[in-house]
């Protein structure tokens, strides 16, 4: 106690700051960093959840490198990212841009767009799964068949399945992105637009020279946020393909689903942990890259 009394006020403040910070630090250390660290350790081990853990060195990573399913899954994961992010970005911007100009039933429309974001992904995935079924139950194919058009194999196809699974995921995230875009649009000072109007500039120039450049921070945020989301896509895929998870022929399997299956149906925890480490590195890389772009913009 006496040691504390001898401290200066500034030092006392530091002690207290550390004391308060200790709680979240401990909490994070315990529930975030400790398991993360354990995952790194397990990735160098062989463990089936039941027996002893044995050290296997880099063999899990070697297996991963030589696993054709992993590379297929790797490509799928980036396909979700590369298709999903730009598509959702463009659609949500177009909606936000026009919604921002609409006064009639503005609140109601905004609510309609936001609703899917609040809906449970599981329920949504199952409804879309039903939409995609072949005749006689699927909504889309029944419609096609009644118009005399041949059926489309949405989910039972190696080429159509990934976009079919991605569509509801994009739709579900749209509401959130629209709201963020609208906030970004509102934050642009009206004086720029007034000045442009006085100068008699066309809408295209206004869009490309004023709106989009000033929206850059918003766009970067949405890109970072949605790309992490697409890299970690799981619930839509899993629920739309539960009978053959990530199928057919691994056409829709993302990395997270592969990790889940390796860990909890093959009980190969070491291999699953190695996949997790790879996913972690990918996410880290993508996030750093995007933060670097964001930083370059601000300076």
């Amino acid at each position: 106690m006496s040691a504390y009394k001898r401290l200066s006020i500034r030092q006392k403040q530091i002690v207290w700051a550390w004391l308060f910070l200790a709680i979240p630090t401990l909490f994070y250390g315990l529930i975030r960093f400790y398991p993360t660290g354990t995952a790194f350790v397990i990735s160098f081990q062989d463990w089936n959840l039941l027996g002893e853990r044995t050290w296997t060195g880099l063999s899990n990573y070697q297996k991963l490198w030589n696993d054709p399913v992993f590379w297929k899954v790797f490509r799928n994961t980036f396909a979700y990212l590369i298709i999903g992010t730009p598509v959702s970005l463009v659609i949500s911007f177009v909606i936000a841009y026009h919604l921002d100009k609409t006064r009639f039933m503005h609140g109601f429309l905004r609510m309609l767009y936001f609703l899917p974001f609040m809906t449970s992904a599981v329920a949504m995935a199952w409804v879309w799964r039903w939409f995609y079924q072949p005749v006689p139950i699927g909504l889309f194919n029944n419609f096609l068949a009644s118009a005399g058009i041949p059926q489309i194999a949405f989910l039972n196809s190696t080429t159509n399945a990934l976009p079919a699974v991605l569509a509801p995921a994009v739709w579900a995230g749209l509401g959130f992105q629209v709201i963020i875009f609208m906030a970004g649009l509102r934050a642009i000072p009206g004086s720029y637009y007034e000045a442009a109007k006085i100068d008699g500039v066309g809408w295209w120039t206004v869009l490309t020279r004023i709106t989009l450049p000033l929206l850059k921070p918003t766009i970067v945020f949405i890109v970072v946020f949605s790309s992490i989301g697409f890299l970690r896509i799981f619930d839509h895929v899993f629920n739309m393909t539960t009978n053959n998870p990530g199928g057919p022929l691994n056409a829709t399997k993302p990395l997270v689903l592969m990790i889940y299956e390796t860990a909890f149906s093959s009980f190969d925890m070491g291999y699953a942990a190695a996949q997790t480490v790879v996913l972690f590195l990918i996410l880290l890389l993508v996030s750093l890259l995007q933060l670097w772009i964001l930083k370059g913009d601000n300076s």
Binding site: L50, V135, I137, Q151, S157, N244, F264
Partner: protein, 418 residues
């Protein structure tokens, strides 16, 4: 501070001692299983009867969602916690033995020779080096479900008894719309459901093969029998056009929806089919092969004694397991859960064997095989992909079969090399 801690620890010890002291007379053992309504209900009734007969033993049942089950068991037993008697899937036996979670059943109470003679033959998969490690109360097998209303409508009198009849019957049941899209299938197909068992243990054998050699460690279906079986299976969709994989999403959904004439499934489906209003269905034995060969696939959950059980708890656990594998327990399990008795002495009594619903399943047990899976989901995936490559990518069946065999062999090698 430290004195306070000491006092705390001391009082804790005293409390523990009192606890153990009071339970010294009556033994309490713990039983674990995964949560499934009917199973928990049946087990509660069994425990009640067992405790009545053995007043000095109490059994505490704990159940978990299926998803957490394995993790919890694995964490608890090595720590000296958890169950004395534990339920596990037959396919996990190797893992449980290797991890030291269960111990062999004592030879005096569970004489291997007696068990060999009394139980259905596939239960012998639970024997290692001459001792049994676990025993089932109930088993499951496959049979052919058929929609009696659709049969009447198509003027079909009896369910098919052979594979040829199966194709002919299915042709009469399938319906297409004007554009040629199937709106009702003759028989459901889908390797993701029970068909991979039907193909592996039934069709391959019926076409003259033996799906595995070397005690299920080597894939053996690459020959003509495997190819014939595969051609028959994919032919249902490709040549005869009586089915479509993924029709109405899931085979059982199509059957429940009354859009499928026939459906191969396990005895565990009976309960949920009973709940479907307006669906009239019957059960028949699986159709016999071209040369009359009958086969079936059986799977089961078993109970074993954990390595945690010692001393008087061990004795109580043995008694409890003896009760769980008694004729009385098996009959109760059949009545409550609808799973089939593991002994012919219960299963094949007149009342059960001639039961219109359970009968075909029980008859199937006499010639059933049990696949010793190394990793059931990965081995199933090989079958699913085998059919998908033919179905979606138009691959030649022989090539696809070879690829599936290689894939499955890799899974087996990886498992057994340790």
């Amino acid at each position: 501070m430290s004195r306070y801690m000491k006092r705390m620890a001391l009082s804790g010890l005293t409390a523990l001692a009192t606890l153990f002291g009071s339970s010294a007379m009556a033994v309490e053992i713990e039983y674990w299983q995964y949560f499934f309504d009917a199973r928990v209900d049946a087990m509660e009734q069994l425990i009640e009867k067992f405790e009545e007969a053995n007043p000095d033993i109490t059994v505490k049942m704990t159940h978990f969602p299926y998803a957490d089950y394995r993790t919890k068991v694995a964490a608890a037993i090595p720590a000296g916690e958890g169950p004395d008697v534990v339920q596990l899937f037959y396919g996990w036996l190797n893992d449980y033995i290797e991890a030291g979670l269960i111990q062999p059943l004592p030879q005096d109470a569970f004489d291997p020779a007696v068990i060999d003679a009394e139980f259905f033959p596939m239960v012998q998969a639970m024997k290692r080096d001459g001792s049994y490690y676990a025993l089932p109360t109930a088993v499951r097998s496959l049979a052919l479900f058929y929609n009696t209303r659709l049969f009447d409508e198509a003027g079909i009198e009896n369910p098919p008894a052979t594979l040829d009849e199966l194709v002919e019957t299915a042709k009469k049941l399938a319906k297409v719309d004007g554009a040629g899209n199937l709106t009702q299938v003759g028989i459901t197909t889908g390797m993701t459901a029970q068909d991979h068992h039907w193909w592996r243990e039934v069709l391959v054998r019926q076409f003259g093969g033996d799906p595995y050699s070397d005690d299920y460690k080597t894939v053996n279906y690459t020959g003509d029998a495997g190819l014939d079986a595969l051609n028959f299976y994919v032919g249902l969709e490709k040549d005869h056009k009586v089915t479509q994989s993924g029709f109405m999403d899931e085979p059982q959904a199509a059957f429940k929806g009354g859009r499928a004439g026939m459906h191969i499934d396990g005895s565990f489906r009976i309960g949920s089919l009973n709940k479907v209003r307006g669906l009239k269905w019957g059960v028949a034995e699986l159709p016999a092969g071209p040369d009359g060969t009958k086969s079936n696939y059986s799977s089961y959950w078993v109970n074993g004694i954990t390595t945690k059980a010692e001393g008087e708890k061990y004795d109580a656990a043995v008694k409890f397991l003896q009760y769980l594998t008694s004729d009385e327990a098996m009959q109760l399990w059949l009545d409550v859960v609808g799973e089939l008795p593991a002994k012919p002495s219960v299963g094949l009594i007149e009342e059960n064997a001639s039961d219109p619903t359970f009968g075909p399943f029980i008859k199937g047990l006499e010639y059933a095989n049990t696949t010793k899976f190394a990793n059931e989901s990965a081995q199933r995936q090989a079958m699913v992909d085998m059919v998908a490559r033919i179905d979606i990518e138009g691959q030649d069946p022989a090539e696809s079969l070879a690829a599936a065999a290689a894939e499955e062999q890799k899974v087996l090698d990886e498992y057994y090399k340790k």
